[in-house]
């Protein structure tokens, strides 16, 4: 462990890695499916520290225990895991509303979109079957919008018949959000160190539930920082996602 690496100031990206890791705390022996660089680092960090039973795939067909292949998980098997509920995915979101409805399909009218994006992918099935979190590397009113153009991931206002629906967290470059309000609308859970509540409010296109006292997102511990910097991401890919 090199002292120089660890004395460098904690970056926003590193705070985000830990905030993503925290989403999987307590999940036990389930498949963690992170989409994006920082969610992946977060899931790996959680596995190496407080959530050692998590399963991680290489994004292809292998379950990996470090470098060792511990299982086979081709795409068709992922759908079985989804339906079994033993999975917690952290997806991206091009749009999110205050109920947690998520869009990654297209922007504008679905019939003839102004901009075609990925398509719904597995978002409807994910949100109907197991916990889902979201990662938004650039918190802005374009993403956090009053109404999404195409509901891919299902929000709380449309989840009445879905017994297994849960949106756990939304992690952004500014804050951590959740839905722990009586109405199940989006709440500011914590702001990252150096971010003011007013900044988050200004970057959100709808009214957030804001508690009287908003805590600060925790910083990485020394051992966590060492894992992120020296083992999981020595090349600094995290800084490309959150500068």
């Amino acid at each position: 462990m090199t002292g120089q690496l660890l004395t460098r100031e904690v970056t926003r990206a590193e705070v985000c890695v830990v905030a993503c890791a925290e989403a999987w705390r307590g999940d036990g022996e389930i498949l963690a499916s992170p989409m994006g660089v920082i969610p992946r680092l977060g899931a790996q960090l959680a596995r190496l520290t407080f959530a050692p039973d998590l399963l991680l795939s290489d994004g292809e067909a292998y379950l990996l225990d470090g470098d060792a292949v511990e299982g086979w998980l081709p795409y068709r098997s992922v759908f079985g895991v989804v339906a079994s509920g033993r999975r917690h995915v952290m997806m991206g979101a091009s749009q999110l509303d205050r109920h947690g409805n998520q869009n990654i399909s297209c922007i504008g009218d679905w019939q003839r979109p102004a901009r075609q994006l990925l398509g719904v992918r597995g978002a409807p099935g994910n949100t109907a079957n197991h916990p889902t979190s979201y990662w938004v590397p650039r918190h802005s009113p374009r993403v956090f919008t009053g109404q999404v153009d195409m509901v891919c991931g299902v929000g709380y206002d449309r989840a009445a018949g879905l017994a297994y629906h849960e949106i756990r967290r939304v992690v952004t470059n500014l804050a951590v959000l959740d839905f722990e309000t009586p109405e199940r609308t989006m709440r500011l859970r914590s702001v990252h160190p150096g971010v003011r509540v007013a900044e988050v409010v200004a970057a959100t296109g709808f009214a957030l539930a804001i508690p009287g006292e908003v805590p600060e997102t925790r910083e990485p511990s020394g051992p966590e920082l060492a894992l992120i910097r020296e083992r999981l991401d020595p090349g600094g890919a995290r800084d490309g996602e959150v500068p």
Partner: protein
């Protein structure tokens, strides 16, 4: 049993394309930009076929067919080049309104193929409930479980995912024999067996045709994904998944994929790409990309 007298199903790409008709619903195996039957797709590009409905875990197969004006409708959950997340020709087709879309959750697509493979009218699935997949597919129906759900006398409401029946399936595997037994040697079977089971006419292209007795030299018995009940024709198309991946025979040609993606930047760029790589036969294509 020596297997003497079993059908020899070897065909050429042109013979496979000759079995297809305008307006057909065609399922294409692989996933994203992985193990796509691209030599057969290129055969369609050179043909007079139009008005096709393409069912796919979509990649450049979908983009190329749209760009060439072959597609009326795409049935999919996504279209992606993997290392390039958004398929540029699919994007253009959608944004210009030149292609219709049946947009499904990826698991719904799996279930629709499984229902067709099992000759069931539908299979229940939770995916789709509450989402706009129900809004943009107004023909989708839900079904209530006839069984009580714990305390609740009313069973759970589920999406009744209709069977996705295919007129034809096109898949590409690493090895096959002349009878239609086919083998994947990479880590993921994708849904190629289901595409075959869901289709009336099934065409398998492969990197290399081998004698039946040599199949197990290449991989374990579990790698024999398609058997001859599931295939009507077999075509040997070396490098036939190019530029998608076909591990372990070869990986994705990322440089060529970038060139393909750039062909969506203008009509001129597409015409140049088309002239150089698509207005030629398969040997001409392979020579141009080698």
């Amino acid at each position: 049993m020596s297997g003497k007298g079993m059908s020899d199903k070897r065909m050429t790409v042109a013979e496979v394309i000759g079995e297809l008709r305008p307006g057909m619903t065609i399922g294409i195996g692989g996933w994203g930009s992985r193990r796509k039957p691209m030599a057969l797709v290129r055969g369609i590009l050179r043909s007079a076929l139009t008005d096709l409905t393409i069912v796919s875990y979509g990649g450049p197969d979908v983009g190329l067919l749209i760009a060439a004006g072959k597609v009326r409708r795409v049935v999919c959950g996504f279209v992606s080049l993997d290392s390039i997340p958004l398929e540029p020709h699919f994007r253009l087709g959608r944004e210009r309104g030149t292609v219709e879309l049946t947009e499904l959750d990826e698991g719904m697509l799996y279930w629709g193929l499984l229902a067709a493979a099992h000759r069931l009218p539908f299979l229940p699935i939770r995916a789709g409930l509450g989402s706009d997949v129900m809004r943009v597919n107004p023909s989708l129906r839900t079904v209530r479980s006839p069984y009580p759900d714990g305390e609740d006398a009313d069973g759970e409401e589920l999406v009744a995912m209709p069977a996705i029946r295919l007129d034809a399936a096109l898949v590409h595997l690493n090895r096959a024999d002349r009878h239609g037994n086919a083998q994947y040697l990479g880590p993921d079977p994708y849904f190629d067996d289901l595409f075959c089971l869901a289709a009336e006419r099934r065409f398998v292209s492969c990197e290399r045709l081998v004698p039946t007795e040599d199949l197990l030299a290449g991989g374990p018995v579990q790698s024999l994904l398609v058997n001859r009940m599931m295939a009507d024709g077999v075509v040997e198309t070396p490098h036939g998944a190019h530029f998608t991946s076909c591990v372990p025979d070869y990986g994705r040609d990322e440089e060529f994929q970038r060139e393909y993606a750039a062909s969506a930047s203008s009509p001129d760029a597409w015409e140049r790409f088309r002239g150089r790589y698509l207005d030629v036969d398969e040997p001409g294509y392979q020579e141009a990309v080698s």
